[in-house]
Amino acid sequence: MKKISLIAATVALGFSVESFARDQIKIVGSSTVYPFATVVAERFGKTSGFKTPVIESTGSGGGLKLFCKGLGTEHPDITNASRRIKMKEVKKCSKNGVTDITEIKVGFDGIAMANAKAGPALELTLKDIYLALAKVVPADPEGNTVKPNPYKMWNEVNPNLPAAPIVVVGPPPTSGTRDAFNELAIERGCKKFPGRKALKKKDKKLYKKECRGVREDGPYVEAGENDNLIIEKLVADPGALGVFGYSFLDQNRDKVKAAKVDGVFPEFEAISSGKYPVSRSLFFYVKNAHASVIPGVKEYVKEFTASKAIGNNGYLVPKGLIPLPENERAKFEKDGKTLAKFDSSVLKKK
């Protein structure tokens, strides 16, 4: 009896909390945006008089999944993403009643490929990265046919590279960094083969599968959503190459050094000007229906889009954020102020 009444009491408690009002913003999403969002949240909590928002680092995909689950205080108000929202996710959102969202771009991030200080200096091309890491690689020079990736050594991929085994430590598929890496590095390397490029027009699905698929036979090691762990693995194994965001490279210059990709180092100017090929935009998405219910959502968005945060001399720049051009930032500051509804038709054009 005691047991049953206790369980009943717990259940009753559970349902009574449903109407529990929340006065604290809840944020989920990308581990790449997390270090920037936490800085903004802390400043916001100190200066605005609102409670400091709670931020969870779930990965971009995981964050959007939670974000799109529905409206109501038990669902997050904002999700961070290190890639743009996908059409699939927009549809899932609107199915659950989350139709009115605002998209804010906060800046850029370069994805660096780096190895330990003790390791060799590397100069890679996108083609090398593709050949070293794709699941299937072209079987003929034109790229009309494919074979499972046979390469084990860097010099098999490109004779100019050292005769060392291919070991790349990087993020798992739930990570936005991984999505961006697949799209920006591996797929672009794939496109250098005319046969592969032609496939895109013929069979888009197969093209995506073959040009973005990462090999699973050992040389690519998944390290979890923890970039510090990747850096430690690199220090322990000077032969390994790591894949992580620019801010981690910036903080660990005494331990790791970046490889040139297509002749460019992942440096501040090169990423913001777009010269460095493997760079992507960082976003966050706001649930507009929550903005009027949860106190502080609008003010938080204002703080995050302000010039003192993400402008050229903003306080996030020393933390490793690469700022947007000023006119673009001003546009998103305006979007944030009016909570402009995100138009998902722009996703189709691409």
Binding site: K3, K26, T38, T52, S57, D227, Q251
Partner: protein, 425 residues
């Protein structure tokens, strides 16, 4: 006869040799285990002890009324919104009149932690007579300066491998040579919650979160587990059904903790709509995980009470319920408490199931109730470990030290309770 003796003598040497080998292997095993423990502990302590001090920089701060309170209102709200960053920047610049470039001025101002502004505001509000006065103060340095100060060999690194550039290095060395920089106890570590600035981050928020979570766990799991244990051991008939339950409880004790997290996500969050990241949900999940441990301990200590006690009570006319509540249960309490404390210390070190219910989050405000967002000690360690800024490395190790000392403390209490109160029959 003699032949048999010879045989025995021969085999004796062999048997004694294998005995010696057996002892040697055991010894090697223990030495390995101890040396690994020592290596781990010393590396943690060497890294972690640095976190208990922070760097302070001495400045002559001039509380300029033009910046703080130009209209001479002496009101707290005016003082709070004043630009104290400018006051700090000005007082650093006094030491370096040669710095005029705007970018360099900003670089110099980042020597001092942003929390110093709050310190100054508090100081002025407490004592308004300080306005327009000059005061010598030790202000908290930023984490970058702290890291350099704690790792002096970094000064010899080439510029691009150091955290600071050559100019900043020159300023830092000037502070060193003037003895205007010192170590002092890190108060923030024991009084603050998480922060993005390592010098302002502390373990207190996670400690309160752990306390609230374990409180819920204890309140839920202890009565249920003891009731279940007493029922199964003393009252339930022995049949196939109770056997089935028994097997399942033993199995439950071996279920990986992440599974309980998934259960919590599915039932407590998705069905019951309890708040995410709250100690109430964390406590409920950990209670599920702790139940089998306490049930098994309860049953073992009930079984250790000799049947003569029960028989005597029943012989004097006590009911089964009276026998249990008056005699058997009090006698087995030391064993049950030991089991509970061990179950609790397991729950204290758990992080995987809390990941599922959103307790792995950045939380700056210390939780005030079991419905507020909170995080716990092991999760805080994990979060610091995955942060880019270098200052968090030592905080991670210090967090491990705090967690380990609580685990050792709880287990020591369990051992003490067992020795002190346990009856030998």
């Amino acid at each position: 006869m003699t032949k048999n003796f010879e045989k025995i003598n021969d085999s004796l040497i062999k048997r004694q040799k294998s005995e010696k080998n057996f002892k040697l292997f055991g010894l090697i095993g223990i030495i390995c285990a101890i040396s690994f423990l020592i290596i781990i502990l010393t590396s943690i302590i060497i890294e972690g002890k640095k976190a208990f001090v922070s760097t302070y920089i001495k400045l002559d701060v001039f509380f300029d009324s033009k910046i703080i309170d130009p209209d001479n209102t002496k009101e707290d709200s005016v003082i709070k919104s004043a630009n104290f960053n400018e006051i700090i920047t000005k007082s650093i610049l006094e030491n370096f009149p040669e710095v005029t470039d705007r970018k360099e001025k900003i670089k110099l101002s980042t020597f001092i932690s942003s929390s110093a502004e709050d310190e100054l505001i508090k100081l002025i509000i407490l004592d308004k007579a300080l306005i327009d006065q000059k005061k010598e103060l030790w202000l908290l340095a930023s984490s970058t300066i702290d890291v350099i100060h704690k790792n002096p060999d970094m000064l010899n690194f080439p510029e691009d491998e150091r955290l600071i550039d050559d100019k900043e290095l020159k300023w830092f060395q000037w502070f060193l040579s003037e003895e205007k920089i010192k170590f002092s106890a890190n108060k923030n570590f024991f009084s603050n919650a998480d922060s993005t600035e390592p010098e302002q981050a502390g373990i207190w928020g996670a400690f309160v979160g752990s306390f609230l979570t374990l409180f819920v766990t204890l309140i839920l799991s202890f009565p249920i587990a003891v009731a279940a244990g007493v029922f199964l051991e003393e009252l339930a008939p022995k049949n196939k059904f109770t056997d089935f339950i028994e097997v399942n409880i033993n199995n439950l004790a071996a279920v990986p903790s992440i599974i309980f997290g998934l259960l919590g996500l599915a039932i407590f969050l998705n069905v019951m709509h309890l708040p995410r990241s709250a100690p109430i949900v964390g406590g409920m999940v950990l209670a599920l995980m702790t139940l089998p441990t306490i049930i098994i301990a309860t049953r073992a200590s009930l079984r250790a009470v000799p049947p003569s006690i029960r028989e005597a009570a029943i012989g004097l006319g006590a009911t089964k319920f009276q026998t249990v509540t008056h005699h058997v249960l009090p006698l087995s309490m030391p064993g049950i408490s030991t089991g509970t404390i061990i179950g609790m210390s397991q729950a204290l070190g758990e992080s995987a199931p809390l990941l599922m219910i959103g307790m792995v989050a950045f939380i700056v405000d210390s939780p005030g109730s079991i419905f507020d967002s909170a995080t716990v000690l092991p999760v805080q360690i994990y979060l610091w470990k995955s942060t880019a800024a270098r200052g968090f490395v030592e905080l991670t190790a210090a967090g491990v030290m705090v967690l380990l000392s609580f685990l050792v403390l709880m287990n020591a209490i369990a051992v003490y309770v067992r020795y002190k109160f346990e009856k030998k029959w």
